[in-house]
Symmetry: C2
Subunit: 108 residues, 2 copies
Amino acid sequence: MQASQTIWSEAEKTIAQAAFTNAYQREINALIQEVHDRSKQIKAIEDVWHLHDFLSARRHELDGKYDNRDAALVFVFADLLREGWLQVSEIEGLDADKIKKISALARM
Amino acid sequence: MQASQTIWSEAEKTIAQAAFTNAYQREINALIQEVHDRSKQIKAIEDVWHLHDFLSARRHELDGKYDNRDAALVFVFADLLREGWLQVSEIEGLDADKIKKISALARM
């Protein structure tokens, strides 16, 4: 990977931190809403265990996904763009090479 | 363990099966209600993971607890009596030795 994708200026760090936090909060809020919705549908014990399986998978996914180390951020932002938790406008101001790489990865 | 506690007549099996099923259904219904109640309280991601931890523990406990093998039933019924999911009146008709053993274990 090029250094421009792993070295972040102070200005870039500020933008990245805000984008990261906003995406995380959106995904968390959606998860909380989904837990509310799923819980309301629970009528049998199988539904309880389905909720448990769902939470196990989401927790594992979220634990691995929001990696804010400098070298990981390009990949994290690509995932968040692809999944719709982040808009490209929120990473404006980052180095052009980073945005290009993030956008390309997001289309994969 | 005495044979009277591990050998079940057909009449005893019928009583035991009904008691087992009723206790299980009560505990499951209480769990479903608790999941509904806990879900309504969820406001932050920590609450979601607390629900997940709770379900992990309850699933593990329930998987181990409702063991309907003949040799296990005396112990299972003792647990269920102690925890209030079963009333002693529901195992009336079992061999007197079994009821005595179940009641003694339930008080431990």
